[in-house]
Symmetry: C2
Subunit: 327 residues, 2 copies
């Protein structure tokens, strides 16, 4: 294998578009590793993106996210869809578990050239999930996936982040997991487009559904006319998945019809462009601090030291920093 | 009371420095409300800051943060210190509870002109805790407080944020609260300079201390030579507070001696300057998007729409955004 900085990017993109799994894997590695070629990769992908339906799937540990993703992929494959899965785990145990997770998942879809599954750790200097995942989605989109499922563990902020990445966000719950509390957790009630009560053969599933319904009614959701459905599934047995796909497609049709699909994707792109621009500014401030002061003014570290010493105030320091950007 | 934008800022700062509680309150309101005078306030305070010892105090709900803060203030007052307290609650119930919290706390220190206590909700357009709290610390610092205690509820990211604000971070735990789990929560083991096992008259306090000791040993902490002490307290009864103050002062002396105090305050100022600069850039991008496009290039919204449509890629769009900043 040639060193990464020598990769033939246009060739890789061509081969990925032809469905070659190794080329897809290589491109995702390039974006995940923040390769110097990242920029070239993104530019080469851009004209081939925007076709895939992007689903976010999130929920607390133990609700059955992987099983549900697996069952959902089976359902989508039965309908002839080409599917990509990105399993993103922002918590620490992942970098070791990634390969194992891949292998377990692959057993069901091994040898199927129309399913691409990839685990991603959300490491990276530039901001984890929010940064590398949209790039990886773009690879799968360009590679001709009809549907891309982004699966994340619901810890802290990640529910809200996954909602920012997806056209349709699926929030999973299960009976017996602290019910009210798990649903009331930051973000869960606000971000779901479709709710899934998995393990619905267990006691309490109807209660979870009822509680969820009333909590969603009270939540601070956008007043856009979409009433999120709640689907009961037993993913392990494949039950309820057909209904889930129906609801997901109904949401997608609603997104298109109302113009909300375009609005969401534009918001997504806005956040991404802004993140890239801010990272670039941060890098330049870092560079100046390292001695590359170009303007005779102090770099960020020098300005910060002056603020800490009370010699200047943070607003004046910020002005001087921005003068450098504009210089 | 005159409208806020007519406040006599230099006069307020003079009166705050003379210890007038109403002037302190007014200045904190100005920074908390992101008044147009914020900038002027910060500039007027700058020469009078850098003297106060800033303590962060955090922990999960129920460990006894308010009681501990209260007992700590009593201890510091007994030593003749002038004390400021900022109680920051980033969770939702606070905006209503702020006044009640103030009143309960004030009962102990009512009429003491050398204690200033203030509850803050972490609302605000510019980023909550990370933004308004350092400004409020600056007010109390300039008002002559020897010690400023910033108390935050330990939810999600806030432990890590409070560590970024303080010279010395106190992390509180208590027996019977999920022990291992509460300590292993993101950040807790990494950010504490002094650990407090409160409610130490309850069963399990020694076990919490032992578990904590071994977990801290395994945590990914800076290799700077500081071994965080673990102090047992019964804040309700005032027990252990003298020892806590000794450990806090020992840490402060260590910070000074190693140069780490200056390094921490510079890092803090760096983050603050950067946040102000980025907020200013964001505002200008917003303005251009609203039709104030100055350069003939598209504003951020227009660029984002082009990215969403696959007409350009996010890197090229970020370049164009930065060209506008530099124009």
């Amino acid at each position: 294998m040639p060193p990464r900085h020598q990769a033939d990017v246009p060739g890789l993109v061509e081969r990925a578009r032809a469905g070659e799994a190794r080329a897809v894997a290589r491109l995702i590695s390039l974006v995940e590793d923040e390769s110097p070629l990242l920029r070239q990769v993104t530019a080469a992908l851009a004209p081939h993106t925007g076709r895939a339906q992007v689903l976010g799937l999130t929920g607390a540990p133990g609700v059955g996210k992987s099983t549900t993703t697996n069952a959902l992929v089976r359902e989508l494959r039965a309908a002839g869809k080409r599917v990509g899965v990105l399993a993103v785990d922002p918590s620490s145990p992942f970098s070791g578990g990634a390969l194992l997770g891949d292998r377990i998942r692959m057993q069901d879809h091994a040898g199927d050239p129309d399913v691409y599954i990839r685990s991603m750790a959300s490491r990276g200097h530039l901001g984890g999930l929010a940064w590398s995942t949209p790039q990886a989605v773009r690879v799968l989109d360009a590679a001709g996936c009809d549907v891309v499922v982004v699966e994340t563990v619901g810890v802290g902020q990640s529910e809200v982040e996954v909602a920012g990445l997806a056209d349709t966000t699926l929030v999973l719950l299960a009976p017996g997991m602290g019910d009210g509390i798990q649903a009331a957790k930051a973000g869960i009630l606000e971000v779901g487009d479709v709710y899934v009560v998995n393990k619905a053969d267990r006691d309490g599933a109807d209660q979870v559904r009822r509680d969820l319904r009333s909590m969603i009614a009270l939540a601070d959701r956008p007043d856009d006319g979409w009433k999120p459905p709640i689907v009961k599934t037993v993913a392990q047995a494949g039950e309820g998945l057909a209904e889930l796909v129906v609801e997901v497609d109904r949401h997608h049709a609603w997104l298109k019809q109302t113009g909300e699909l375009r609005a969401r994707r534009t918001r997504r792109a806005r956040a991404e462009v802004e993140a890239i621009a801010l990272a670039s500014l941060r890098r330049s401030w870092g560079d100046w601090s390292d001695g590359g002061d170009r303007s005779g003014h102090g770099g960020l570290d020098e300005l910060a030291a002056a603020v800490a010493a009370g010699e200047t105030d943070p607003w004046a320091a910020a002005d001087r920093l921005l003068e450098q950007v504009r210089a």
